[in-house]
Amino acid sequence: MKKIVAPDYGLGETVKSHAAAIKVAIKEAILPQTVTSHYPGERRRMPDCFRGYLRFDPEMCISCFQCSFICPANAIGMREAPDNRYYPTIDYGKCIFCYFCLDSCPGGALKPTKVHDVAYNDVDEMLTPTCDMIDMPEIIREDERYVEYKIDEHDLSLERVKGLDDLAVELPELEKISMVSVCVAPENCLSCRVCEEVCESGAITSALDGDEIRMTIDTTTCNGCGLCVKECSMQVLRLVRREI
């Protein structure tokens, strides 16, 4: 263990350290290393991975509920859209911007933005319905420049660039892991058709076939949301990798 010894000042050291303190103060008063960014006149340019307000793309959504399930703050509620599909809504009065939802979204329907400086005058307005999440939100912007923090070997300095920072972010496309639902234990199936009811893509269908019920999973339309697997009370279904 490296031991620290408290300094013991004699008169000389006292004067010296007084002088050192004053020297720093004078130096900074004359040539300050100011690091202030002048919000709202300018705004900090955040990295692309910054977690701000979310955007939503209904085309990519598979209504798998995973964003809602994972949300630690229960800020995401799925709401039935006019086309009878369930889409997420976000209550920013609860959202903690952890982006667990974005990381969970298997279809890539949730997209990040760098919007984060928002004030509401009514707490009920903070619930953002799906239909508002699709386009970039507009915020009041008074900035004319954006600031980039530059850190080099010597110091942190601010680099000011004229112009507006684009707050929309396009994340690089990731290789999607595509899953499909299959029945692994048909003999346990109760033919309760809960899977069919829960299936948003319509891949699971049932039909009467003589004195039997024929359950079908259309593996081409199945989007692998996994809800049927989760809801099946006998656990006869399983998600497996889609073979390409």
Partner: protein, 354 residues
């Protein structure tokens, strides 16, 4: 694994007598409303939407909205197509035994068998019937002998248990297997489940049946007992010996006693049609009748149960008191069969009179 295209499987449709009604309505009309429902809750166990509840009588309150009409309840109901079982049934051995490890009613052999099965690794959980402070029954998943310390798991409960309602959950959570303890009707339910669905065949590894004459509805029994002066808040122990019901209460030296016969007035109709006293279909049946006081009679019927018994013997967990006497059971077996015939006759008579 899954090729592009279609994945198909087929399930046979279950017969329903009332064609234009849903399966649950079928069940309701043929079993529940006719009073032959034993309240074993096999239907509640299998119901995929978890809608059937252990009310009095068993019900699916919002089946109009929630029921998917899959027929599973009808498929597994042991009373839907009821063939009463009776007698002693087949068994490999019938012994009197007393656990050395556990204290309970009589020989505490139910506990011993289950705990040994867990110890052997045959099962990883056992479904017991416990009770809360109000003496209402509740399901208890036992994983470890230490859970028995609180002492509400052993002993007769006399009221209907909801243990089967939890079976599916237990089966799905279990990694090795599940053991279940129940009255003959529950055992029949489990056997029906096992017959219908491989899931239960694979996972329910041990079914312990109890000797049973009847069970009561909690509310009715509670009302009856309080009429007799039993305060369930202070109730410590109940027992039936020699045709007498004995309830010991905290702070009172003299227990309340009355004749068992008196209980017949609140006997549920489902029990009155039951003729199975010894849980004929169980893997092993346990009861107190047939052996000397302090011992349990154990009728080992299946191989898995025999393995457990061998294990108990090997470890010396139980003291064996020789063979149990089948003769002593005859009275109760016959009593139950007799009751059935009287009831049916009565009912038929009534029908005729209408």
């Amino acid at each position: 694994m899954a090729a592009a295209g279609k994945f198909e499987w087929k399930i046979a449709i279950v017969n329903k007598p009332l064609k234009d009604k849903t399966y649950f309505e079928n069940l309701k009309e043929t079993v529940i409303d006719t009073g032959i429902c034993s309240r074993c809750l096999t239907c509640a166990c299998i119901c995929p939407v978890d809608g059937i509840i252990a009310a009095k009588p068993v019900d699916f309150p919002d089946y109009k909205e929630r029921c998917t009409d899959c027929g599973a309840c009808v498929r597994v109901c042991p009373r839907f197509d009821y063939k009463p079982k009776y007698g002693m049934g087949e068994y490999l051995e019938f012994v009197a035994a007393k656990s050395n490890r556990f204290v309970g009613q009589d020989g505490a052999m139910v506990t011993e068998i289950m705990m040994s099965a867990i110890e052997m690794g045959m099962i990883d959980r056992a479904l017991f019937v416990g009770r809360n402070d109000e003496w209402m029954t509740e399901v208890f998943h036992v994983y470890d002998p230490s859970q028995l310390e609180m002492g509400t798991l052993t002993g007769t409960k006399y009221t209907f248990a909801t243990v089967l309602k939890d079976l599916k959950k237990a089966v799905l959570l279990s990694k090795k297997g599940v053991g279940i303890v129940g009255t003959p009707c529950i055992v029949s339910g489990v056997k029906k489940l096992q017959k219908e669905y491989p899931l239960f065949r694979e996972r329910v590894k041990l079914v312990v049946g109890l000797f049973c004459t009847e069970n009561f509805h909690y509310e009715e029994l509670a009302a009856f007992l309080s009429e007799k002066g039993v305060d369930h808040n202070r109730l410590i122990k109940t027992d039936i010996t020699k045709g007498k019901f004995i309830a010991t209460m905290e702070g009172e030296e003299e227990p309340v006693t009355f004749k068992v016969k008196e209980l017949e007035e609140i006997l549920p109709s489902g029990c009155s049609v039951c003729t199975d006293f010894t849980a004929v279909e169980a893997d092993v049946s346990v009861g107190s009748v047939g052996s000397k006081p302090g011992f349990s009679s154990v009728a080992v019927r299946e191989k898995n149960a025999a393995e457990v018994m061998d294990y108990i013997r090997e470890k010396g967990y139980a003291e064996f008191g020789g063979d149990a006497v089948e003769k002593q059971l005859e009275f109760l077996i016959n009593y139950k069969i007799g009751r059935f015939y009287v009831e049916t006759a009565e009912e038929e008579g009534r029908d005729k009179s209408l």
